[in-house]
């Protein structure tokens, strides 16, 4: 289940784990070093249990000096490092290395400062996403990015993955809401990237570091921007007889100059999957349902919802309903927010994909996915961040059935390649991790992959930070290319792509 392991371990000098353990014993309290299987078993996988690897050692540093001691010891003893936040990655970003150490950042769990007037908070990386908004709430402020896992995921993990959420069309991704980072490099040096003042000098390292999946350094503090909580939010629920019409409605809303706070589409299969569990009142006969949230002052929301409702109706909606209360708004969202949980209830396993496509290709892509259901013999339901083109197909399978895991993975890979073919990307917000290393060969040319590797060397000349993730080796792409039509052949500079 960990195909990356075989060809990449050999590229590192043999790690000396015994030497590593001996050198950190004095630097960390004994209870922060986990080396027996009953302690480390809990770290064998993250939110993508398709990939598992028992880590030989897990360390849980409590502060920056301890972290620096661990990194120095890793460098001295050639020990690969897998950083870990709350372990909610959906791409195997925190899948352990078979001969490495997992550095868990859970003990970095303090909010270091919150300045309500300047609307800025400084937090340690282990602080949960939702905890920032909870701390800011008494001041009428919140932290905007809200990935579905926000109750559990940590801000450090959000930085590593550039996490999004359902409100990012209007409020941006993690990268748009982080002002500064304090990081420790593999060389044990502390770097401040960005800061509270705008436009830090030099190369723009802050947004480059965000989304780098733990491969460039370890975060020890995050400075985030807080926003005033909108006075009111309402959601419009509209049903459509075809996916095309729903897509057209989205196009018209945005063309009218409206940037909704949230804009989500569920296909019929997803609607039928969730409705029995959440009783949101979704139209089971609709081919697609749109949820469009409007927020702001009462006047703003009233104006925007009436404009959007009219656009939906003109685009052919068969039913349009505006939430009349906060309770109803939450109920409309409940189905969307629980789509994954509902999949888990009706199917023994599910595999959540994360491609992004230009929105204009939505109907074509959903049609092709329906065909793939037949080819791979598995069902798939689709939820879609319609505003920003991020598609989450949920492939339902049963890991106990012979070859269903392989079929699910093949189905997923085919979906991602389709996303690239229509001008999109293999991952919108979950990250490449260990899961999509092969598909990187499909999306990027060798020159582009080499540039990623070169940039990593600038931060991590020893290749120790989260190796095996994100950047495929030449050999791996060659193997992958033998099985697939390779976009690399199309990526000569002077040929238009599509």
């Amino acid at each position: 289940m960990t195909p990356a392991t075989a060809n990449a371990v050999a590229t590192f000098p043999a790690p000396d784990l015994a030497g590593f353990l001996a050198s950190i014993r004095g630097a960390l309290p004994a209870e922060c070093i986990l080396a027996c299987e009953d302690q480390t078993r809990a770290y064998e996988c993250d939110g993508l249990p398709l990939f598992r690897e028992l880590p030989p050692v897990v360390v849980l540093p409590e502060d920056e000096p301890q972290l620096i001691a661990v990194l120095n010891a890793c460098r001295a003893h050639h020990v690969p490092i897998v950083p870990r936040g709350a372990g909610t990655s959906l791409s195997g970003g925190a899948t352990p290395h078979p001969q490495g150490v997992v550095i868990g950042m859970a003990k970095f769990n303090r909010i270091l400062g919150l300045d309500p007037e300047r609307a800025i908070a400084i937090v340690q990386p282990g602080v949960r996403n939702l905890a920032i908004s909870e701390a800011a709430a008494p001041h009428g402020l919140y932290y905007a990015p809200d990935p579905s896992s926000q109750i559990a995921c940590s801000i450090g993990g959000n930085v590593a993955e550039n996490a999004g959420g359902v409100h990012c069309l209007k409020y941006g991704l993690t990268v748009h809401n982080v002002l500064g980072l304090r990081i420790v490099t593999i060389e044990g040096e502390v770097l401040e990237l960005g800061g509270e003042a705008p436009d830090a000098p030099g190369l723009n390292l802050l947004p480059f570091f965000v989304g780098s999946e733990g491969m460039l350094g370890m975060v020890t503090a995050v400075t985030v921007k807080l926003l005033p909580r909108p006075e009111l939010a309402r959601v419009i629920m509209a049903s459509f007889a075809s996916v095309e019409q729903a897509g057209e409605a989205v196009t018209r809303v945005i063309a009218a100059g409206v940037i909704p706070a949230g804009l989500e589409l569920m296909d019929q299969r997803a609607v039928r999957l969730v409705e029995p569990f959440v009783h949101a009142g979704y139209d089971l006969d609709a081919a697609a349902i749109l949820l469009c949230e409007s927020d702001g002052t009462a006047e703003e929301v009233a104006g925007e919802t009436s404009r959007v409702a009219a656009i939906m109706a003109a685009a052919g909606a068969i039913r349009v309903q505006v939430s009349a209360s906060e309770e109803e708004r939450l109920r409309f969202w409940a189905g969307r927010k629980n789509a994954f949980a509902a999949a888990g209830r009706i199917s023994p396993d599910y595999y959540c994909m994360d491609g992004t496509i230009p929105r204009r290709h939505l109907a074509r892509v959903l049609g092709a996915i329906a065909d793939m259901e037949k080819t791979h013999g598995l069902a798939c339901s689709n939820v879609f961040h319609a505003g920003d083109g991020n598609l989450h197909p949920l492939i339902l399978f049963d890991a106990n059935e012979p070859d269903e895991v392989e079929r699910a993975r093949a189905f997923g890979a085919a979906v991602l390649e389709l996303c690239v073919e229509v001008g999109g990307t293999i991952t919108g917000e979950h990250g490449v991790g260990i899961e999509k290393v092969d598909q990187m060969c499909f999306q990027f040319s060798r020159a582009e992959l080499d540039a990623f590797a070169a940039a990593k060397r600038a931060f991590d000349p020893y290749g120790l930070l989260n190796p095996l993730k994100v950047i495929p080796t030449l050999a791996r792409c060659a193997e992958y290319g033998r099985m697939h039509v390779h976009r690399g052949e199309l990526s000569f500079p002077n040929i238009p792509r599509f």
Binding site: A197, H430, A447
Partner: protein, 362 residues
């Protein structure tokens, strides 16, 4: 256009083979910014202005893709036609302004504080490396975390990592309503007000404070839905400026055509929100007090030490005689400089592109 691009690739590859270095140039309107070019003749120009044109623009996708040499004016005219705009209000210095130059310098106008930095709006780039091969990073979609975000790294890179060939940008709808209010406030009062508004749900899209005979004047622009703009105006108070006068004022700041910008040398100082007055007596504030333009002669080391203590940085924006050879940008912490130099060495191993433009060490 493909033959233009292959011509540029050949020029780059030939320069590398001949051991020449290249200075990337669009319309040449931003050459004043950054460290001076080497004075010897080891550098040749790489003229990107011929590689131009909008490649793709779908207003409903909120994405525009254009070649680096496309005039900024052309991009903004096309967006305006669809009721959209660049969120960061980039300055225009002349008809030669190109999109590539705009991205490489990352200079932004009055709307920057509300909109975020230029790099917030870049979705994808094509970058030419030293052998002439073009690499593509990011794409034309809003959410994309495949590989490192090289596109955002290139914004503000002053071309030291290579020439941008093409960029894809997120664009935004023009606000439905916009008004400007003028308030008579001294510097400290203006700064306090700007800071206070940060945590208020008001659509402040620009602020500018200027000293005048009686203390000073703060202009505040509100942009958004009519109801939010009016609610904000009621909270802020002050005198409503006529729209034509207001537009002319913000344009004069955006394009740095206001008389204040004629001072030499001119410093561009960035500070955290809430930072106190610098006490120089000759300042113009934008961005809710986070951008301070400073005229007059200041000792670079002393000014930078003071600004750093407040959590900011200072660049020498327009130089003159005495400071002609002084580095433009705020010095980096040694550990940060080490990583930045390694990035330059890794991505442009032969040091082919834009020597010294960002730092003398590059």
């Amino acid at each position: 256009m493909e033959s233009v691009l292959s011509g540029l690739s050949e020029q780059v590859a030939a320069a590398r083979a001949a051991g020449h270095r290249l200075v990337i140039r669009g319309g040449g309107t931003r050459l004043f910014y950054g460290d001076p070019l080497p004075e010897d003749d080891s550098c040749a120009w790489l003229d990107m202005s011929t590689y131009r044109g909008i490649v793709d623009y779908e207003p409903a996708e909120l994405v525009l893709t254009a070649r680096a040499g496309t005039p900024l004016a052309e991009v903004e005219a096309v967006l305006d036609g669809a009721g959209q705009m660049l969120a960061f209000e980039p300055p225009r210095f002349g008809p030669g302004d190109t999109l590539g130059g705009c991205m490489a310098t990352a200079l932004a106008g009055p709307r920057r504080m509300a909109a975020g930095p230029v790099s917030d709006y870049i979705l994808g780039t094509r970058l030419m490396r030293a052998d002439g091969e073009v690499m593509r990073f990011g794409g034309e979609v809003m959410k994309n975390v495949a590989g490192y975000d090289v596109s955002r790294l290139l914004v503000g890179s002053m071309g030291v990592l290579g020439p941008l060939v093409e960029v894809s940008l997120k664009v935004v709808p023009r606000p439905r309503s916009e008004i400007t209010l003028a308030l008579a406030l001294d510097e400290a009062e203006a700064l306090r007000s700007c800071t206070r508004w940060r945590s208020r749900p008001m659509p402040v899209s620009a602020t500018a404070w200027l000293p005048d005979g009686s203390g000073g004047r703060l202009n505040v622009r509100l942009s958004g839905n009519e109801s939010a703009v009016h609610a904000g105006a009621a909270e802020i108070g002050g005198e409503l400026l006529e729209p034509e006068k207001a537009d002319a004022f913000w344009l004069s700041l955006r394009d740095q055509a206001h008389g204040f910008f004629r001072q030499r040398p001119l410093w561009r100082v960035m500070l955290p929100p809430g930072a106190p007055p610098l006490g120089s007596g000759r300042e113009l504030h934008e961005w809710q007090g986070c951008l301070r333009w400073l005229g007059g002669t200041h000792d670079p080391a002393a000014l930078r030490a003071k600004v750093r203590e407040l959590g900011g940085w200072a660049s020498l924006y327009h130089r003159d005689g005495a400071l002609a050879a002084s580095p433009a940008f705020h010095p980096l912490a040694p550990a940060v400089m080490r990583v930045q130099r390694r990035l330059k060495q890794q991505l442009d191993p032969g040091g082919l592109f834009n020597p010294r433009r960002l730092y003398p060490e590059f």
